[in-house]
Symmetry: C2
Subunit: 243 residues, 2 copies
DNA sequence: TCAAAAGTGTTTCCAATACACCCATGG
DNA sequence: CCATGGGTGTATTGGAAACACTTTTGA
């Protein structure tokens, strides 16, 4: 890092060094889908400030650490899994949003297959819990707003990208797929029409396997065809699913 | 601002003060529409680093200044106009993206009516110029990437929101409106169908005025009906214009 | 034999698309 | 009188939406 003590900069003629006193944090809105509900993973903070309040998993970024790397590290700590699907959504920078100083935070959302993930509380989290998006507790900082922004973004993204696959097991019946979209859009969809539409997208592989241990006719299992999806995406193809 | 010299924080057990050495900047991708082309406003940097290179208008954020406020101030300086349409797009935080230290930057795009805006170079800009998006010069920092991200975002937004109105004069003929969307989507659209679609959205007021001084049949002028737009938006109405 | 969800087929209807044509103005 | 873009009408078609129906499993 260069010396910069007596340089001037910027339209205000303020010593350059005065600008280098921000902290940057990363907060992750981790979405999961479970039992017909869209859920978010929250932690109970184990450190000050706002100790014991529910909050988003997040952390301060170190000076030599990239933002995306930092977000990935948080999820690695929490789930043990690397390279979870992450999308940067928005940066929140209100002057007084953090009691310790000028901390701006960049919010990401993450999508995980809730059935495959084991959560392990870490140093800054004394507890973790999946909350339904409709039943969130009181939250620290401006995390309520962050969540709301991320939910909106997820809804918009879900309409144009086959994002849902990240939230489901590798193999899944179409009924589950539909329930997921019903949870995201908070609505109900016509079964027949939903199936026709999804199949017409040509990004699903039908398997020769069936659901097990269900008290109704077992559904065929499907798999996301990522290769085919990327081919179509190249061509500018749109994937409108649901509403 | 609180004392924090000897507190500890965060999973890494690093002194808290070590985290407060980021700088934050704001960069604006200002879009305008002129003569059938989508254009971006660039400045020639009048200050180090990267002096004399073309770059996005932007500045370091002061510690006591909000991010959005900072973006607004930049545009105010540049155009003399307050409350220009601004949208936060993405935050870029690569560790080595800035030669003076760890500077992360939040990118916004702005939409202006190019015919109503007078640009005045300010302290950090020795020159300003509107460039076609297809003919950009060499750019400072990672500004090429920032622009590319903002163009993508604009394209996506234009499909779902009547963003185009910000780029046009208050009163405009439908032909101009169509040309704008053709510039954004880089395609041509069928005149008759475009008109039908736009009119069916019910967010345009037809005026009793006509274009002047054109060497062809003058077109009727239209105005954006913001009130009606907001009503429909409340109801979750979608505004797909063009492709 | 009942509940519950899988899975399919049909009809209706609207909106996207393609395309042809006429109109008004300046030069 | 022609080039230019404004402005309108119509036929076709594909897909969205609504809804009825059959199938397969566990309990």
């Amino acid at each position: 890092m260069k010396k910069r003590e007596d340089e001037k900069f910027n339209a205000y003629d303020i010593p350059l060094d005065d600008f280098f006193h921000f902290a940057l944090s990363v907060d992750c809105v981790v979405f999961g889908f479970d039992n017909k509900d869209l859920k978010i993973l929250l932690i109970e903070r184990g450190v000050e400030p706002m100790k014991d309040l529910w909050a988003l998993p997040g952390d301060l970024v170190r000076l030599e650490e990239g933002i995306e790397v930092s977000a990935n590290n948080i999820l690695k700590k929490l789930t043990g899994v690397n390279n979870i699907y992450l999308k940067q959504v928005h940066t929140f920078g209100k002057v007084d949003r953090h009691p310790l100083g000028r901390v701006i935070t960049t919010a990401f959302y993450a999508l995980v297959d809730i059935s495959k993930i084991e959560i392990s509380p870490s140093s800054w989290a004394s507890q973790t819990k999946w909350y339904k998006v409709s039943e969130l507790p009181q939250l620290a900082f401006d995390h309520r707003q962050i969540i709301s922004t991320c939910i909106n973004q997820l809804e918009r993204d879900a309409k144009l990208q086959p994002i849902g696959f990240e939230l489901l097991p590798k193999k899944f019946p179409l009924g589950l797929f539909q329930e997921l979209y019903e949870a995201i859009y908070q609505t109900t969809l016509d079964k027949s029409n939903f199936r026709k539409k999804v199949k017409s997208l040509n990004i699903l592989n039908q398997l020769d396997e069936f659901e097990k241990n269900v008290s109704h006719r077992p559904g065929k299992l499907y798999q996301f065809d990522k290769k085919r999806y990327n081919e179509l995406k190249e061509k500018g193809f749109l994937f409108e699913i649901g509403v």
